[in-house]
């Protein structure tokens, strides 16, 4: 697959678009269909395509595994932090109104931030899961374990 | 539990016992004597009343109820603790001492318990602590005997608990006075008390376990467990007709089996059954005289039975043998033990001037006043039998009779001292029965030393002795053991279980062969259909979980949805 020129060219063209689309979904999630979950998946899909074409090692040079792990946690922390911020500013958990003066602005800010956290976590979790499986395959190959799956 | 005019004696004893493991040698021995003395002191200070109330699960517990009846038992329990402690001074085993004192503490706890919950707690504690007095003998036989003892009392405990729960449910209280429930509560509690009182056929734990206990431990055991049960019967079941007959039966059962015993402490154990029979019969008669007789007989019995067990224990301690057929001719070497034992023997046989006389005749008299001819005769036979085996047969075969070739030393001083104290008390009570009678809850309207009672008793005993001398060669014995009810659970039960087990296994095998055949056919069919060798078999555990899930769901759905 990696040596297939067409794939490499098409992928090089597609991956940025996929990721851009992911970001689009991410940042329009508060008004239109979409949101962190879908965006994260789409974004991760782009990355996975990258792995399929260029190999895991190349991909891990772009985003190291440790970074994914930290980002995965950081996304949830962001989510919780926004929630706590609501409490600190005198509301309930995940209460966005106290965050900013205007009602609309506050909701929009809150949702976008929270969804961004969700998006980061979902994307990195999917990437991590894929990495774990992919590496296991390469480990097997390194250890010359017979692959009994068809 | 502590107020200015009441300190719970059990608490004193338990607290004092906690110190025992820290002490050694002389210090420990001194402490062992001081502790029962302290308890006696505490009892001296105790005033009648109810103390130590606690709320528990919406019930009121009375951990200390002091009245005349509980004081009678309190006095004698602490006295026997003192005697037993002196007797055990030479023993260098702290586990035994701790167990014995805790055992005494729980027995005291039972007699001072004002409600059934407290009683139950101490009742169970009594079992858990006393079993160590058996186990510390250290042999496999005693371990097994102790284990059986534990199991039976565990069952008894459960029965008692069930009874208490139902009693509470029926009457709304757990106060321990006369049990006036009339449902299963009455019978369950009675059954539990009867197990501890060793009423046949629930007695076998006693004669099974006591002979296997340690030499010193048996002294405590002979005094405490059955007598707490007598106390509970006096308190809870006075005037229960059934007990009259059971008690009279017990006296005969005990003496008969005692005749068959070869082990000296087993013989004495059967006499516990027999003597407790007098008390149970007294409880059943239920008149003031009979109840006084039961209480005072328990009092005197504890002392002379402890004395007898101490004498037998001294022989076992010095010779290492416990079988009549292996003993004989010891009077030259252990004369003091012999004489002191005889004091116990004549006491239990109710010779005038000794303690048994002043209490047993009271129960017999109560039976006569009640006009129960048959009971009276049964008790008289038991009197003869008691004299026959404890005072004639046992000492004859141990100290006199054929010389066994044993050349033991006299028992150590502390054993003799303990026995002397007990003997002195037996004598004292025999001569001044008023001292004992003054302790009893009801004023005693009975004088043991009237000519008619004296004449009858002396004739009965002396002619029993005559018959013994004449029929000596017919007296059974020899190196044998005799079966008793414990056969049922030592041999019968296991046999029954193994027989049932075999039957079940056979049936199960047959059923499974058929079922498995069908299943295998189904499985192979499925396998043929689904290919992949053995996959179905492999996932079986998870499959079975899922299967059960499906079954339960289907059950609920069928009931709930498609009705």
């Amino acid at each position: 697959m990696r040596e297939n020129g067409i794939l490499r060219v098409v992928a090089r063209f597609l991956i940025p678009l996929i990721m851009l689309f992911g970001l689009y979904i991410q940042f329009h999630g508060e008004y239109s269909p979409g949101g962190g979950f879908q965006a994260g998946i789409v974004f991760a899909a782009g990355w996975i395509l990258f792995v399929l074409i260029y190999g895991l090692d190349a991909a891990l040079q772009v985003i190291p595994e440790r970074a994914m792990y930290v980002l995965m946690v950081a996304g949830v922390i962001l989510y919780c932090a926004v929630g706590i911020a609501g409490v600190v500013l005198g509301g309930h958990f995940l209460d966005f109104y106290p965050l900013l003066p205007g009602k609309h602005a506050a909701q929009q800010f809150g949702i976008i931030t929270v969804e961004f956290g969700v998006g980061v976590t979902v994307a990195t979790v999917v990437m991590l899961i894929f990495t774990l499986f992919a590496r296991r395959k390469s480990e097997w190959k390194a250890a010359k374990v017979e692959d009994d799956q068809p | 539990m502590i107020t200015s005019d009441w300190i719970h004696p059990s608490l004193v004893l338990i607290a004092g016992t906690l110190v025992v493991p820290l002490l050694k040698g002389r210090a420990m021995q001194t402490w062992m004597v001081l502790l029962p003395l302290a308890v006696l002191g505490v009892l001296w200070l105790a005033q009648p009343g109810e103390y130590g109330q606690m709320a528990f699960l919406g019930m009121e517990l009375v951990t200390g109820r002091v009245d005349d009846l509980s004081m009678v038992f309190g006095w004698v329990f602490s006295t026997v603790l003192l005697i037993g402690a002196i007797y055990a001074l030479h023993v260098n085993d702290q586990v035994q001492h701790v167990a014995a004192f805790l055992y005494g503490a729980s027995a005291l706890g039972v007699v001072f318990a004002g409600d059934l919950i407290t009683l139950y707690v101490f009742w169970e504690l009594m079992v858990i602590t006393s079993v160590w007095l058996i186990w510390r003998r250290g042999s496999e036989v005693s371990f097994n005997a102790g284990f059986r003892y534990l199991v039976i009392h565990a069952v008894g405990g459960v029965v008692l608990l069930a009874g208490i729960i139902m009693f509470q449910f029926e009457t709304g209280t757990t106060r321990f006075d006369q049990i006036d429930a009339d449902g299963p509560a009455f019978w369950l509690i009675l059954a539990a008390f009867m197990i501890n009182a060793a009423v046949p056929p629930l007695h076998a734990w006693l004669t099974d376990a006591y002979p296997e206990a340690t030499v010193t431990g048996a002294v405590f055991m002979s005094a405490l467990t059955t007598k707490t049960a007598v106390y509970t019967l006096i308190r809870g079941y006075p005037g229960t007709e059934m007990l009259v007959w059971l008690g009279a039966f017990m006296t005969l059962y005990g003496v008969t089996f005692a005749m068959l015993s070869n082990d000296i402490r087993r013989l004495l154990s059967y006499h516990i059954v027999s003597q407790v029979g007098y008390m149970v019969a007294g409880v059943g008669l239920g008149t003031a005289l009979a109840l006084s007789g039961s209480a005072s007989h328990a009092f005197t019995h504890i002392l002379y039975k402890a004395l007898l067990f101490m004498g037998a224990g001294a022989v076992i301690h010095m010779t290492g043998r416990s079988k009549l057929s292996e003993l004989g001719g010891l009077y030259r070497y252990m004369p003091w033990t012999f004489v002191l034992y005889l004091v116990g023997g004549v006491s239990i046989s109710a010779f005038p001037l000794f303690s048994g006389y002043v209490s047993k005749t009271m129960i017999v008299e109560a039976a006569a006043v009640d006009g129960r001819a048959l009971i009276w005769l049964m008790l008289a036979v038991a009197s003869a039998g008691t004299f026959l085996s404890t005072t004639l047969k046992l000492p004859y075969k141990t100290w006199l009779g054929e010389d066994s070739g044993l050349r033991p030393q006299e028992a150590p001083w502390n054993m003799l001292l303990a026995m002397s104290i007990a003997a002195a008390l037996c004598f004292l009570i025999g001569i001044f029965p008023g001292l004992l009678y003054a302790l009893l809850p009801e004023p005693v309207d009975f004088d043991a030393y009237t000519m008619s009672v004296f004449l009858k008793e002396m004739q009965l005993l002396l002619f029993t002795g005559l018959a013994f001398c004449l029929l000596l060669k017919y007296v059974g014995g020899g190196p044998k053991i005799s079966l008793d009810v414990d056969w049922l659970y030592r041999r019968g039960g296991p046999r029954l279980i193994s027989a049932t087990g075999t039957a079940i296994v056979t049936a199960d095998r047959a059923v499974r062969r058929v079922a498995l055949g069908q299943l295998m056919r189904l499985t192979s069919h499925m396998e043929r259909k689904h290919g992949r060798d053995g996959k179905l078999a492999k996932s079986w555990p998870i499959g079975s979980m899922a299967l059960w899930t499906a079954i339960v769901l289907a059950m609920l759905l069928t009931f709930g949805v498609w009705r």
Partner: protein, 493 residues
């Protein structure tokens, strides 16, 4: 900050702490963070209980009003269970340090993160007033639990975890199906709102099926008798600390969810009538009591033995529920609490032995009574509580259970309870017999007494067993309040 506003933090604190833990390296800091978070959450739960017993607390997330927004709704029943869960976790953690260092030497950050996730999941289930949230938290805690079990050093831990995963997922899915049915019929997920709207539509088979699905789903997580098969392996092969934690909490929370649905969402006068629930639960409970105790008597592995004993103890709780009375429910809640105390203590003692000896097999207990007296005395005392000896917590709950059975005139249940108590004596006795009455074989290494870090928490729990056996105000009061909260006074006692 009012108590209501503080309440959700017993879930949030462990949740956030788990994120922190996941990033922490080494062995000390993850444990320390976990300890602080758990204690915080336990303290919050302890503060919540008295308030919740007075008046039902409601906390709307994001300030969206309840039927639409997500709500934490806490009455005496949840507060009681939440306190139990957080409290047991807080007691278990000091014990965990040594044991986890031994059994899970690497990547402890991830391990403790999973633990905190499981804890916050369990607390979330108890506090949430929203059916779908209950499902979400159930999955959070379950997934974390599978991961925790898989950390066991025995390779069979993986299989056990996998089986639990399958069965747990089936259970959770059933719950989801049930909730889905309810949502279809009522259009709401809020528990209180569901309870209000259900009466109109409850004579439909959809609602009845929902009840059946929820009961089976939670029966699975609860390890009610025929659905218990995942439990013994999971408890046996998990790391000791995980077993200690799960034994006291996971099944209890599942029972709570079942009760919440059966009693609050569907009114008991409906759910016990439309399904023969009382009979079914009673039969399953009694069967569980017997089968669990019976199997436990023959187990050579003590952890496994205790696991089967748990199946039996779950039977006692379900039995209390099946009696459908205040006293019965009180008994169930009491036993829920007391069983957590005693079983955690027992698993701690066994875990301590495993720490010292390396095995939890009965044959490795031989002669330990002399060399590890404190550990095995703790085991024996906690065993007394399992048996139900007076002055222990176990006696109190059995007492109430028997009273409840007698109230309904079910004499035979009393007999059955007492017989299973005798069976408990047998399986506890086997350990005592091995520890004190058998010699240690020469080929087995002698083991000294365990370190204090393991002994102290164990003894704290043993002491609690006795404390709550004598002073029953807190437990009985809490359990009665919980039972009344569930029955809502709507049913005759």
């Amino acid at each position: 900050m009012t108590i209501t506003e503080l309440m959700p933090f017993s879930v949030l604190v462990p949740l956030i702490a788990s994120l922190v833990c996941a990033l922490l390296p080494g062995r000390f800091w993850p444990w320390a963070v976990t300890l602080v978070a758990t204690i915080t959450s336990a303290v919050i739960a302890a503060i919540t209980l008295p308030a919740a017993a007075q008046v039902t607390l409601s906390y709307a997330f994001g300030n969206w009003p309840p039927p639409i927004g997500i709500e934490y709704r806490v009455d005496a029943a949840n507060a009681f269970v939440a306190l139990l869960v957080a409290g047991m976790a807080a007691v278990a953690l000091p014990w965990a340090k040594k044991s986890v260092d031994r059994e899970v030497p690497e990547r402890q950050g991830a391990f403790y993160a999973l633990f905190l996730l499981a804890l916050s999941g369990l607390l979330g289930i108890t506090l949430s007033g929203d059916a779908f949230n209950i499902f979400v938290f159930l999955e959070i805690s379950s997934l974390a639990t599978y991961g925790l079990i898989a950390h066991g050093s025995d390779r069979r831990a993986l299989l056990a975890s996998f089986r639990y995963l399958i069965m747990g997922t089936v259970g959770a899915t059933f719950l989801l199906i049930g909730i889905g049915f309810l949502y279809v019929m009522t259009g709401t997920l809020n528990l209180a709102d569901l309870a209000e709207r259900l009466p109109e539509v409850r004579d439909t088979s959809t609602v009845r099926a929902a009840l059946a699905f929820i009961i089976v789903g939670m029966g699975l997580k609860l390890a009610m008798l025929p659905l218990h098969l995942w439990l013994p392996n999971a408890y046996t092969y998990a790391p000791s600390f995980v077993t200690v934690f799960l034994a006291g909490t996971a099944t209890k929370v599942a029972l709570y969810v079942m009760l919440r649905f059966v009693f609050t969402v569907f009114a008991p006068d409906w759910s016990f009538v439309v399904l023969p629930l009382s009979t079914v639960l009673m039969i399953l409970a009694v069967a569980g009591m017997f089968a669990g105790s019976w199997v436990a008597m023959f187990q050579p592995n003590i952890k496994r033995m205790l696991a089967y004993s748990s199946v039996a103890q779950v039977g006692y709780m379900v039995l209390g529920v099946s009696l459908v009375s205040i006293v019965g429910l009180t008994a169930a809640f009491l036993h829920l609490f007391n069983h957590a105390l005693m079983k955690t203590a027992l698993f701690m003692a066994v875990g301590t032995v495993i720490y010292q000896v390396g095995s939890g097999h009965l044959k490795d207990f031989r002669g330990l009574g002399r060399t590890m007296p404190w550990t095995l005395t703790a085991f024996a005392l906690a065993g007394l509580s399992i048996i139900g000896v007076p002055l222990t917590a176990g006696f109190v709950s059995k007492w109430y259970l028997i009273q409840a059975a007698l109230d309904q005139g079910q004499w035979f249940l009393v007999v059955l309870i007492l017989i299973t108590s005798l069976m408990a004596i047998v399986y506890i006795w086997r350990v005592i017999e091995a520890a004190w009455f058998q010699e240690r074989p020469g080929n087995q290494p002698a083991a000294g007494e365990a370190p204090l870090a393991l002994l102290i928490p164990t003894w704290v729990l043993v002491a609690l067993n006795f404390y709550f056996g004598i002073d029953t105000r807190l437990t009985v009061g809490g359990a009665t309040a919980a039972a009344e909260a569930l029955l809502g006074g709507g049913m005759a006692p």
